[in-house]
């Protein structure tokens, strides 16, 4: 399948999964995985991120409108899409250009760390924007980490099945 078409299929699938399923399940009575962020983590990096940011904004707004959550998911999607570029700028060789980094080609270990950092960040932002209280985010650190771990399990599993470079 055309990579662009495959990407949009993944994006739509994850957005629908988040609003139809993940926002309604309560694993162990409490945890709702945050998986909608995955398509933004695998977006190709580019020098000008404007189109990626607009895509993240539209996708986050879709979840917010359907879930009646104001702009919580919009802010999270835009934040993650922008800051991941900063993450790769700090990691890359000084001679390497940002658009030369291929997320598919980074090692599995680095990929899991990358996913975990941004999924954790997403959970922190969602908890914070929901409560507007740093104290509450700190008091809920265990729940945030457990929710991030559950989310990453699903994301890594999907990544291995559908985006494993060895399969292509």
């Amino acid at each position: 399948m055309n990579p662009g078409r495959k990407y949009y299929l993944v994006l739509i699938t994850f957005l629908v999964l988040q609003v139809v399923w993940f926002n309604h399940i309560r694993l162990f009575g409490y945890y709702s995985p945050v998986v909608f962020i995955y398509p933004f983590l695998i977006l190709p990096l580019s020098k000008n991120e404007s189109s990626n940011l607009l895509l993240a904004f539209a996708s986050g707004l879709f979840i917010d409108i359907v879930s009646n959550t104001g702009g919580v998911y919009t802010a999270t999607a835009v934040f993650v899409t922008y800051t991941r570029k900063i993450y790769f700028i700090t990691l890359k060789n000084p001679t390497q250009k940002i658009e030369e980094i291929n997320i598919d080609k980074i090692s599995p270990g680095q990929k899991i760390i990358y996913f975990f950092i941004f999924i954790l960040l997403s959970n922190i932002i969602i908890y914070f924007l929901d409560s507007f209280s740093f104290g509450l985010v700190i008091s809920k650190w265990k729940d945030i980490i457990i929710n991030s771990l559950i989310s990453i399990l699903f994301i890594v599993f999907t990544d291995l099945i559908f985006f494993n470079p060895a399969k292509r």
Binding site: V19, V20, N23, H24, R26, G29, Y30, Y31, S32, N48, E49, S50, L53, L54, A56, F57, G60, D64, I65, V66, S67, N68, T69, G70, G71, V72, T74, A75, V78, F79, Y82, K85, I126, Y127, L129, D130, S131, F132, S133, L136, K140
Partner: protein, 267 residues
């Protein structure tokens, strides 16, 4: 000026990022502000239509449990009817026809956030108004925040901004029920006077003072309590009767005399 424009044009992505984040934050803050958003809402209408489709599929699989819940409710009503014939003290202290109940279904229910809301499939076309209470067969659910023609957004009792007037069933001492933000079935009652006789296992019911909920709707039972020394009051832990993670049929409580009550309470 030209230098500034040149500098900014090189940071197009950053400027767009800031702009989009500001828009998202404004949307979030607006959604948080209960006082400003007690109106009809376009977002409620869109969200309601989408969730109604999902709800249709879910409802098919939940019919058995809803039926069981309605059978239990019928049994309880029959029992109350029998009791009211012999004990008039059990009749709630409200005027005849003061409260009207509009049946509805929960089509979307949040309980993993700190400021949870839910959507129900009745709106202002059905006579639902903001500030109406919502109850289930097992207890209170929340308060209507805003309405669209066919849907209403309800502030769940699992929302840290919501405080509901409740009382000890036996003695009528009252306080405020609030959600501490963790377990969806555990609440706390604050500002309960220090001279109130508090016991584990005692039932907490609605106090009925706000006019949002009728008096004596069961809320939960006491699992523990502690004295708040500075405030000379009790803080009581309550296990709720209703399961907020599995809501189906609910009733919107319409107080026909609320406007009259509120007009007298205004300073």
């Amino acid at each position: 000026m030209i230098k500034l424009l040149r500098y900014l044009s090189g940071r197009q992505s950053f400027l767009l990022f800031v702009l989009l984040e500001i828009i998202a934050l404004i949307l979030t803050i607006k959604a948080h502000d209960y006082a400003l958003t007690k109106t009809h809402s376009l977002q409620t209408a869109i969200s309601g239509n989408f969730n109604r489709t999902i709800y249709g599929v879910r409802q098919h699989f939940s019919l058995k449990s809803y039926n069981e819940s309605l059978i239990k409710q019928n049994a309880l009503l029959l029992k109350l009817l029998q009791m009211s014939k012999i004990d008039t003290a059990l009749i709630p202290p409200t005027l005849p026809e003061q409260y009207h109940f509009i049946p509805a279904f929960v089509i979307s229910n949040q309980y993993n956030l700190q400021h949870n809301t839910l959507l129900i499939n009745k709106g202002y076309n059905d006579g639902v108004q903001p500030d109406s209470g919502v109850i289930s067969t097992n207890g209170i659910v929340g308060v209507v925040q805003k309405t669209s023609p066919h849907f209403s957004k309800v502030i769940s009792i699992l929302n840290k901004n919501l405080k509901v007037n409740v009382a000890l069933k036996q003695t009528n001492y009252s306080g405020f029920l609030q959600w501490p933000g963790k377990d969806p079935n555990t609440f706390e009652v604050v500002d309960l006077p220090v001279d109130a006789p508090v016991k584990k296992g005692d039932t907490i019911v609605t106090g009925g003072m706000s006019g949002i909920f009728p008096k004596n709707i069961p809320v939960g039972y006491i699992t523990g309590y502690q004295l708040v020394t500075g405030r000379k009051s009790y803080k009581v832990s309550v296990k709720s009767f209703s399961n907020m993670t599995a809501l189906g049929p609910v009733y919107i409580v319409k107080n026909r005399l609320k406007t009259e009550m509120d007009s007298l309470l205004k300073p």
